[in-house]
Symmetry: C2
């Protein structure tokens, strides 16, 4: 009985061609992270559920993949718990571990656990998969990679500026024009305060976050529906709809926030950021966007979101400042700021823009034809010469018809085929076939390594 | 309330210094895989349990990490199943997915699932973590990386030979002298047949596999205890204890196996392998070891095991030929052969032999001292110059005491600190401090990039 093989929904196999493209993205991001002095960190796929639960809201808790305890997982479950089973109580009894949901919480856990070995400010990058039991749909997977860089232990705005330069460098290298939108949670808090509805910040932030997608009227309706007074909604609307240059909007905002200490602090931070940015303008478009709220509760200062210009794909990078992420693990007052690149969406943007076209996808540079036992020693000698020149090369493993061996080279995009039969062997030569051009060159075996090194 | 942060037992965090060392190992292995024309593949961490169960024996099934179904996982579980719970029945009802246990079964599953898109012979490498609910102990983890290379769709012994060259290349590059032990399952089967106990092959192979650790007497006792006739045990003992050169032992074995077709085929394969090996002897020691059995049931031909010489650490690489791995997924008659490098043990060997000493561990090449707002523009200009030269560099984010900034550079092994205060700025210069030598150089900012590019 043969099983029909498949993989869990929302997960993916990555074929050789896809791995090469993904590695190009990861490699580019990693290179820039390193250039700025970030150091690599890796944490386990499994974390204790006590580390993960309660960090991503009630919805997030539901999206955690839980791992069944090994051995007799029912040990410690009482009869009554089994007879009247409540699946959330039961799951916490039979599962102690879960798969990581993001890289930020494991990073905070690591920092607290290893605080005595770490030199602060700690600049770390981390590129690993995360898992979420979300409903799979186009562009949303249950296993996907995050590429994070965070600086923890410094509240200098220079860190924010550095992250913006990193974003600019990464997308310049990937040849993706982007718009970087910036806002500051303190400004949003100030606006809510100035509108006289301080106590409703979270709900208002969630509503504003949707502005982009649903438009102002729907946001107004949502806020009124939630019982926010009409006058406050009007006031919020007026300030959110202000148009003009970054600097112009900043001025209007200053007047609006004149009585909010938090708001004024936010403005001051944003002005410092723009001074740094304008002192050496990056190639990306940088926009102060009051309507940028971002859902994550732990942000307390700058928030950042990046979209590719000219394509209709969501945010490809985002982040912000958090003043107390490590507090939940017992280390208070440590400020951090970080960004996360979304590899899958960057992949989609590059696919749309044909940004992978210059990547080589060949399995090796050379295939050596296999003529059978008599010629094998000579073929092995060729293989060794090519490998010693650092040239990726393989002998076809079976002495099948030469046409089939050429077909193999063709289908793997191998650009050169080396033929060495009786005749070539006699003269200590080889025939090199250029697959793209169809041309052939016969040269001595001694010159082969240098010859193929020169060919691109 | 602060949680005391920890990670699940048997799992590990990898600090920046550890990631660098591990990446050196992975990078070396990957480079050799690519040189031989292997292509990268990645499969999901989670597989359907139907893919994994029954592939690793009863013991293996128990070591699978199972993932609790999302949502109401008790849906579909009957009341009677809950009242008389059997944990193996229940676990299969509440869990559909498990974490991958190795890279071989997911590879077989991939090959069958994508057989119409794959060009055979398919040479793939895969470097990913696997998870096993083994009892954690020194050197044994619940999450660890495997580095596999397999060729599937060709039964040529050239593939085996290529894998041995890969082993030799990898350990030469890593500067680890190794002994590669070879055997062939067909020879073992022949011996068991010649001893007249064909039906007991699996048990005998398991017992022989322990010879290394427990000695011949214990193996004899185990076999007799299992009811293998004393005469057969004696016969097995005599042939297993034959000493001498690879060729000498092969000759004795030929006489012993003269009536076993399977055994003679095994000898023939082994002789072909040694002809290839001896035609261009690798730097590793290659030993024909009759007592090498390896536990895995799916091997049918050559088996390979590698140990570092001069250190008492177990096998650091192993593999073999399997004639029907894809059969279980419905694709019969596809032969493959593969090897797997154990990154953790290689790490231990390199640590013992101080093989990491030449690796750089600095967070960046340069730290630029932060003197505060007035000097910041100049510091940013320096940063930009260094980055444009591809030099990893960072500005200390806060304008704290200069001594503390130097301490930061020290503790992160940053070899150069650039100082640019009022005086340097006036003359468009910088002072570069070499941290190891304690020396200082004052040069113009224009020359800085080239100057630091030259310094190692």
């Amino acid at each position: 009985m043969a099983l029909k093989p498949s993989i869990p929904k929302g997960t993916r196999d990555f074929s050789p061609a896809e791995v090469l493209k993904r590695d190009y993205i990861f490699g580019t991001i990693k290179e820039v992270f390193k250039l700025y002095g970030f150091q690599p960190l890796e944490t386990p796929a499994m974390e204790n559920l006590s580390t993960l639960l309660g960090k991503y809201g009630t919805e997030g808790d539901k999206l955690l993949f839980r791992i069944l305890n090994s051995g007799d997982f029912l040990e410690g479950v009482s009869e009554s718990e089994l007879q009247n089973p409540d699946h959330s109580v039961l799951s916490s009894k039979i599962c102690e571990k879960g798969l990581r949901y993001d890289l930020t919480v494991p990073f905070a856990r690591y920092v607290v656990q290893h605080r005595n070995e770490i030199t602060f400010p700690f600049k770390r990058y981390q590129i690993q998969p995360v898992w979420r039991a979300d409903k799979p749909q186009k562009g949303r997977y249950r296993e996907f990679y995050q590429c994070d860089a965070d600086i923890i232990g410094s509240d200098s705005l220079l860190n924010e500026y550095e992250l913006i330069r990193i974003i600019d460098d990464v997308f310049s290298k990937l040849n993706i024009p982007v718009a970087v939108r910036l806002n500051n949670r303190k400004i949003l808090m100030g606006i809510v305060e100035a509108a006289g509805v301080s106590g409703r910040f979270s709900e208002i932030a969630v509503a504003i976050d949707k502005l982009d997608k649903v438009g102002m009227q729907a946001v107004e309706e949502e806020l009124v529906g939630k019982g926010i007074p009409r006058s406050a909604v009007e006031s919020l609307k007026n300030i959110l709809e202000v148009e003009g240059s970054n600097a112009g909007r900043m001025e209007k905002l200053k007047q609006f926030l004149v009585n909010s200490e938090t708001g004024k602090k936010g403005i001051e931070e944003m002005e410092t950021m723009f001074r740094l940015i304008n002192s050496d303008p990056p190639s990306s478009e940088i926009v102060f966007d009051l309507t940028l709220a971002r859902g994550l509760d732990y942000y307390t200062g700058t928030i950042i979101e990046v979209k590719a210009t000219g394509v209709n794909i969501g945010s490809i990078c985002g982040g912000g400042r958090y003043d107390n992420l490590t507090g939940i693990f017992g280390l208070e007052g440590v400020s951090g700021v970080g960004i996360s690149f979304g590899a899958d969406r960057i992949y989609d943007v590059l696919t749309l823009k044909e940004g992978f076209s210059s990547l080589g996808t060949s399995a090796s540079k050379v295939l050596i034809v296999n003529f059978g036992d008599t010629e094998l020693q000579y073929a092995l000698r060729i293989l060794k010469i090519l490998h010693s020149h650092g040239i990726s090369a393989q002998i076809y493993p079976d002495a099948i018809k030469i046409g089939k061996q050429f077909a193999y080279a063709n289908s793997l995009n191998i650009p050169y085929v080396v033929v060495a039969g009786e005749d070539e062997i006699k003269g200590s030569e080889v025939t090199v076939k250029n697959m793209a051009e169809g041309s052939q060159t016969r040269i001595s075996i001694e010159k082969l390594g240098d010859f193929l090194t020169m060919q691109t």
